[in-house]
Symmetry: C2
Subunit: 223 residues, 2 copies
């Protein structure tokens, strides 16, 4: 079995703010990456912009990223999550892991608003459209994208990871534990995303009220 860092991690929609921040953080942690985008050209530009970090990072279209990587982060804006998954049903490999990091918050009239989903959360919404043979976890929901990209700053907080199986959560946690200053906590089944995604909204509300930028959470009482 190859070392974990030899298996490339794919980023679906990896050219946006969340995706490039996450790419920086993953590259710094030693992972090989495939940055996917609807346009390979855009993916190439994103890889080039990563500069020194770009050594082990490839650019691809989303379908190729999905076919190539054993672990995938879903980094598209939440409003594109379903169509992205639906458009690539055949590319997903059985046994691969999708880690959803989308945030279902819209800014209606400038006011941050939780986008209610019939499934209860964005993660469960994604799960509904994902091929059954693909495992799924949700993570990094309440970690500010800007902090992910600021790789010299320790994250100094906890991440709450849920997923559709213990194995899915363990695989996600093993990756996230390599981020300096981040403790990844297993919070069980995927429906925990109903809490985690709303915590993002809470952090955004606090950021605005107190004129700060990077509030995030730490759990007290867990040794």
């Amino acid at each position: 079995m190859p070392a974990m860092t030899d298996v490339p991690i794919g980023l679906i929609g990896g050219t946006g703010r969340e995706g490039t921040g996450l790419a920086r953080r993953l590259a710094r942690a030693g992972f090989s990456l495939v940055i996917g985008s609807r346009s390979t050209e855009r993916a190439r530009e994103a890889v080039a912009a990563l500069g020194d970090a770009a050594g082990r990072i490839e650019a691809a279209d989303n379908a190729t990223a999905i076919r190539t990587a054993g672990v995938l982060f879903l980094c598209v804006p939440f409003s594109h999550a379903r169509t992205t998954i639906e458009a690539h049903q055949d590319a997903f490999q059985p046994g691969s892991l999708l880690i959803d990091v989308t945030v279902p918050v819209s800014f209606e009239g400038g006011k941050p608003t939780f986008v209610e989903m019939p499934e209860g959360s964005a993660a469960e919404h994604v799960r509904r459209y994902l091929p059954e043979a693909v495992r799924m976890a949700a993570a990094l929901k309440a970690i500010p994208a800007r902090m992910l990209g600021d790789v010299d700053a320790p994250l100094d907080c906890d991440d709450f990871v849920c997923g559709d199986s213990a194995e899915a959560r363990d695989r996600a946690i093993a990756i996230l534990q390599r981020f300096p200053g981040l403790r990844a906590i297993d919070v069980g089944a995927l429906d925990a995303a109903r809490v985690l995604e709303r915590m993002t909204l809470l952090a955004i509300r606090i950021n605005r009220r107190y004129k700060v930028h990077d509030t995030r959470f730490r759990l007290v009482g867990l040794p």
Copy 2:
């Protein structure tokens, strides 16, 4: 104007686990209290059980507590919240403040489950039945009741306070700031309770999974 600690704080349904823990904590912080219960006799027993802390604590039925105190904590089990409020419509004083600390979590088949309310949260549900002239805040949603009662232990966490006006939140925060080791954070309008109440469920899930008892939250990134 009398000092804040001279105005008694009332606890509606103050004889349960949440109520007695909160009573200990408030008494230690120097507040005068009125412990309310459906039965004055039960309230008297609860006051007696507070022992040394009981000097400035009176027992009363809920109606008397509601009429007497300028600030009220709603400590009944959530399943009794609506009927308790409805039964005492005439006792509430205009301009008084109700601080909802109820937690809408049930244990169905032993599994902690969020009780979905048509209003979105327990706090908004309570607001709907509360007389309009009573102001309202929600607080202490994710602070373990056991820790509230363990008055020698600093809480060492943050509390997230929402409410229907800045004035309501400020009054609640001024009280909570007197609890050692607790930072009270203003998170805005009452609908933030949709997040806060679910965070309680998250903490319960983590407690069970990791076999701990008192997980709670701290916000990182707010100076």
